[in-house]
Symmetry: C2
Subunit: 305 residues, 2 copies
């Protein structure tokens, strides 16, 4: 794939997803400029063939397309406008007509407003939450749920394609990307909590958990999350691939979105309560499947020796 | 497959599942005796090569293995012991050592008790709920979730294999078959309601429902039920393959089971409320995906012309 406009790309946030995305961009032939608050992580990437920037402002001045892969809206605000909007962000140095690609999971109404705020600065915007996990990010096979104005897409199409196996284009302005991502998180969160509730009932009733897993994963009760997360419970491995507190946050975003239009979400609010119970009971940083630990009166599977 | 003990099998209840199972047994070479309260349905089956009985008592006297495919525990009681236990049931005529195969979705504690009640009459019992839908029942590819004593399995193994593509053996006495089936219904019911909640939020937020379906069915938020039932919503086709009231019943059984051991099920109870709301709002006999009609302030997809 030939880079369309500029071969320089900036990427901010070299976490589990961002580091894989930066590597995918480099493999595709882009000059990749990176920034991470952990200076050593950016230096490591530069040794592998990228360029480490010492600030987001430096990165913004160098790149026509900036991809932001930070944790949430608050960090995105810091990246764009500096802490407390002090003018040290990348939006303060990006040239007019440059594109900001926002990959975090955020309140869609905030994303819609951000497009307008950046437009006032002469900047283009892509609402582009990502999905698929670290392994797929590293191999360039992750999914992007995007929405943007045609001008913005035109300037970064090749960059999006280099990072993702599938780029869904869901609208001609910001919003639908974040909305679809939020709805995916609604289902993911409810399904993890439901999987835990089902497995917990099985344990309470003395059903063999391995047999239950085998039957359910071949039946109409299956979900992507049941199959994935209940394997962690059977292995008694609560090493966080994604932590309980991520769903405290993401189901919170789901409920915030719905509350803005006074829309009832009975299952999402129930699942949110379950994750908050797990978090405050001491499992905040464990794998999200640890939500099963809120159920009383059961003995969970032990790790195989 | 060679019939193991007797080539005669009785099957009671020629509904969507039972009629397919009876046909599978006949194809496998068994002499199949059937009973249905709708006399004409049994007569039709007899013309295709089976034998119609005029009562469950007659059927019980003729067959060493009786497969019951009625709607619930109350109908199973009638089949076994006659209405109000008046002695006109098949248990009243079955020979000692015969096997009763119970395929309904029931309270597992009732199924456990039934095994003991039949044992007192000298009858064997297989706890054998079924899953997979009418098409798979007709082709002999459905799933059975079974538990039984070894003596009972020994007498009907070939019969179970003739009806199902997969026979899960989950325990050496009654209970685990019905428990796993109930847990599958927990997940199925919660997932249908969650799919409806997610699609409803998408419609509220102005997301294109076809695009949302496409993304979710390729993402970690997917479930077997989302993929299957939201296709009905997109087509605006609420023809009941399985009705709202089935989940009023089945999630009721889930909650009954858990209540017996004072076990909390936050999501199941919330989903049960949603199906009851849909039922009483007028959608009881519509497809279970009609649970989406409880959500206010949205316009559902219309049928394509």
């Amino acid at each position: 794939m030939t880079p369309s406009v500029s071969s320089k790309v900036g990427l901010i946030g070299l976490g589990a997803m961002g580091s894989g995305m930066a590597a995918s961009l480099r493999r595709a032939g882009f000059e990749v400029y990176v920034f991470d608050v952990r200076r050593e992580v950016a230096e490591k990437f530069s040794k592998e063939g990228g360029y480490a920037c010492s600030s987001v402002a430096e990165l913004g001045a160098l790149c026509d397309v900036v991809v932001s892969v930070v944790v949430n809206a608050a960090q995105t605000e810091d990246v764009l406008f500096g802490p407390r909007g002090d003018g040290t962000g990348c939006a303060d140095t990006m040239r007019a007509g440059s594109v900001f690609v926002m990959c975090s999971t955020v309140d869609p109404n905030w994303s819609v407003a951000l497009e307008a705020r950046l437009e006032k600065l002469g900047l283009l915007y892509v609402d582009a939450p990502i999905s698929g996990g670290a392994a797929k990010a590293a191999s360039g096979e992750m999914t992007m749920m995007t929405a943007a104005k045609p001008d913005a897409y035109a300037k970064c199409e090749a960059i999006l394609d280099a990072m993702a196996g599938k780029v869904y284009k869901l609208g001609d302005h910001a919003g639908a990307g974040s909305k679809v991502k939020i709805i995916n998180q609604l289902l993911a969160g409810v399904h993890i909590a439901a999987a835990a509730e089902a497995m917990a009932l099985g344990l309470r009733e003395g059903v063999n958990p391995e047999a239950l897993y085998e039957v359910i994963t071949h039946s109409a009760g299956n979900s992507w999350m049941f199959e994935n997360r209940m394997a962690h419970v059977l292995a008694a491995d609560y090493t966080p691939l994604s932590a309980v507190d991520i769903f405290v946050k993401d189901l919170g975003l789901v409920l915030d979105l719905a509350r803005a239009s006074k829309f009832p979400l009975p299952l999402s609010s129930t699942a949110h309560q379950m994750f908050m119970q797990a978090s405050t009971a001491g499992f905040a940083k464990e794998d999200d499947s640890a939500v099963i630990k809120i159920f009383p009166g059961i003995e969970l599977p032990h790790a195989k020796k």
